[in-house]
């Protein structure tokens, strides 16, 4: 999906369902990630204990977020860094633009940051004539394609080699082979210059350690190290919930992040940065700016949704979600796809434009089971639906139906009458085998793909009253 052409949810879903390549690659990726995670979990042996500990750490941190944010900010400044708290997307970007202008920046190199996606940084920098280059391979690919990431940890999961070769060939001005190593080599060459010449490096932050004011980045490509050390100015854009209190706490969450994401014990690179270059340091940026972004996150504090801020962005919920498997990341329409996105996006941005997302789940609970920090994602989806119903966002016909349902529940006689009526309405429409292949009303949607059973000639309660209570008779099929 192009950024400039946001389709309605239904159409985004349709588009995805009609893309066989997308669905096959999602299926493959899920199989790979799920297997990896399972093996990593088995190797860890006591995964449940790790989850319990990680959840406790996240809960404690978010419950005392103001304290730890203050501690972190104080320590960043002690180390010579600058901290800016951005309440909104606008404030975050404006700070960055002021900085880019002050540094007379022409090129900005970025390593993967979901917050910068969230705040549309690239687009805003382009508007003032600053070139922003993504250095994560997947991010670079989707940047060339002018798309959003479709997975939290594998942003270009929906692209095949052929599509990537086309995108790179356009940059190269010549046709490149559809060969993985050749394409990677091309990207590496392209990016090398950008790293060396960029005025500013922007990174995300996987975790921020409050006790020392350090930021921690995990990557498999090493691009985060170059982004944070080569340019003279390093900007960290982080969600305000990315804090862990201590290095010991970091150990727990960092052990779970790659294991939950890809099944890796650890990523190729884990980089910890504590402030800008110091006297006698050989390298490193001269300035380090940390932009701590709220952008709707505090909406969750003190609500039923507070624990959504526990999320460590591992993507494990995406890797097990059958809905995500079929529709992919872009169908969710937001920066954060899958079950986490279906909860997080309405929490960050409200229901306007996002009211379908809480319904894009069969509530199977696979996401909750997979979450390494035990966020009850499927329960939160139910709570969001409750809130939507409370705001009368659900269709009036549905509200009416459930009002009738409520009345029938209150008066069992009415309930029994309802069951009888269903029988007399539906039985005549059933075929020989007792199934309907074209249902009336809400059954119409059901019978588009499946047959629907007709109510039995005698309900259980009728059987019970007639003979079941006295012993009953064996029945045949």
């Amino acid at each position: 999906m192009s950024l400039s052409n946001p389709l309605p949810f239904k159409e985004r879903v349709e588009q995805a369902l009609n893309d066989p390549f997308l669905r096959q690659s999602l299926k493959n990726a899920q199989a790979r990630f799920r297997e990896g995670k399972q093996k990593a979990g088995q190797a860890l042996g006591n995964l449940e204990e790790w989850r319990t500990r990680a959840e406790a750490i996240r809960r404690h941190t978010i419950e005392h977020l103001d304290y730890y944010l203050d501690l972190f900010a104080t320590n960043v400044e002690k180390n010579g860094g600058t901290v800016f708290f951005a309440e909104t997307e606008q404030e975050a970007v404006e700070y960055l633009i002021r900085l880019a202008k002050a540094k007379q920046a022409q090129t900005v190199i970025k390593s993967k940051s979901m917050v910068s996606e969230e705040t549309h940084v690239n687009h805003r920098l382009e508007e003032i004539g600053v070139e922003a280059i993504e250095s994560d391979l997947g991010e670079y690919i989707i940047q060339l394609a002018k798309e959003m990431p479709s997975h939290i940890i594998a942003p270009a999961i929906h692209k095949n080699r052929k599509q990537i070769a086309q995108l790179f060939s356009a940059v190269a001005g010549e046709e490149l082979p559809e060969d993985t190593s050749a394409l990677t080599r091309f990207a590496r060459h392209q990016l090398r210059d950008k790293f060396l010449n960029a005025n500013i490096g922007i990174s995300g932050c996987n975790f921020a350690v409050a006790e020392t004011g350090s930021i921690v980045l995990v990557s498999n490509e090493g691009n985060a190290r170059l982004t944070t050390t080569l340019p003279k100015t390093h900007v960290v854009m982080m969600g305000m919930e990315r804090i862990v209190p201590t290095w010991e706490d970091l150990d727990a969450v960092l052990s779970l992040l790659p294991r939950s994401a890809t099944g890796q014990k650890i990523t190729s690179y884990v980089t910890a940065l504590t402030g800008p270059r110091r006297e006698n340091d050989q390298d490193g940026p001269e300035e380090m700016h940390v932009i701590i972004v709220d952008n709707g996150r505090s909406n969750a504090l003190g609500t039923d949704y507070q624990s959504i801020l526990h999320c460590i962005r591992c993507g494990a919920c995406l890797n097990v979600c059958p809905v995500y498997r079929h529709i992919g990341g872009h169908a969710y329409g937001s920066v954060y796809p899958g079950p986490i996105g279906a909860v997080l996006t309405p929490v960050l941005k409200g229901f306007d434009q996002w009211e379908e997302l809480p319904y894009a789940s069969s509530l199977c609970g696979a996401c909750t089971e997979a979450c390494p920090v035990k966020i009850p994602l499927h329960d939160m989806l139910i709570d969001l639906r409750r809130d939507e119903v409370g705001q009368k966002r659900s269709p009036w016909i549905e509200r009416l139906a459930f009002r009738l349902f409520g009345a029938a529940m209150k008066y069992p006689a009415l309930y029994r009458l309802g069951l009888k009526m269903a029988k007399y309405l539906l039985r005549p429409q059933a075929g020989e085998e007792g199934f309907l292949n074209k249902g009336p009303g809400p059954l119409k949607a059901w019978t588009q793909a499946r047959d629907f059973p007709a109510p039995a000639p005698e309900s259980f309660r009728e059987w019970w009253e007639r003979q079941g209570r006295h012993g009953g008779e064996p029945h045949g099929r």
Binding site: P322, S362, F402, F405, A445, R450, S459, R461, G468, R477
Partner: protein, 251 residues
Amino acid sequence: MRVSLFITCLSDCFFPRVGQAVVHLLRRHGCDVDFPLEQVCCGQPAYNSGYHEEARTAAKQLIRAFKNAQYVVSPSGSCAAMIRHYYPTLFAADDEWRDKAQQFADKVYEFSQFMVNILKVSSVDACYEGRATYHHSCHMMRGLGIYQEPLQLLQTIKGLEVAELPYEQDCCGFGGTFAVKMKEISEQMVDEKVEHIRSTQADILVGSDMACLMNIEGRLKRLGYPVKVFHVAELLYEGVQRYESVQSPAV
């Protein structure tokens, strides 16, 4: 042992044979079975759709209907999970109903869970020739943590071969109103489930939730695949009857 049945709206109306099988099986294992007639739906459709007031109305009626029950047994993992997990939450802020909801929740068991863990049934005299595969419904597996119990019961059926279902933990795409509201996605999910079932070459599909089975069976029928669909209680009871007719053939 006195057992009160919660048959669920779906089994009551569409699949009475499931409830009947449960009645007969429980009686065979020494239970005094009762069916409170004032029972209604557990309220899950309303709860999951966000209509929590209506869900509370249903919950209250069910709690009233079963107030004298010692054990409540239901042939649906999903409805049992609804009561066990969400009834206490629904009344968390209600001083009058909170304890009643919790007490009720504590008495509710899914059929195979009750058979294996409370009645300690280790063997059922049953036979049924065929190749079956078992669909683990999400709410029973994740909500109640019941995984082995139905399989244990199936293993006691002589002549029945049980093939492992690939991706058995994946949702069949039912999800209550999801099947209707997101019908395109739901269709893809049930199609995938059907493919996995077919890959086992089983001619019987067994489950513990009529809602999931209704979804899968409906798709199997539409596609014309001849797989018989059974609730675990239904297949067990069918097997018991077959076993008995072999033991004492009618003359």
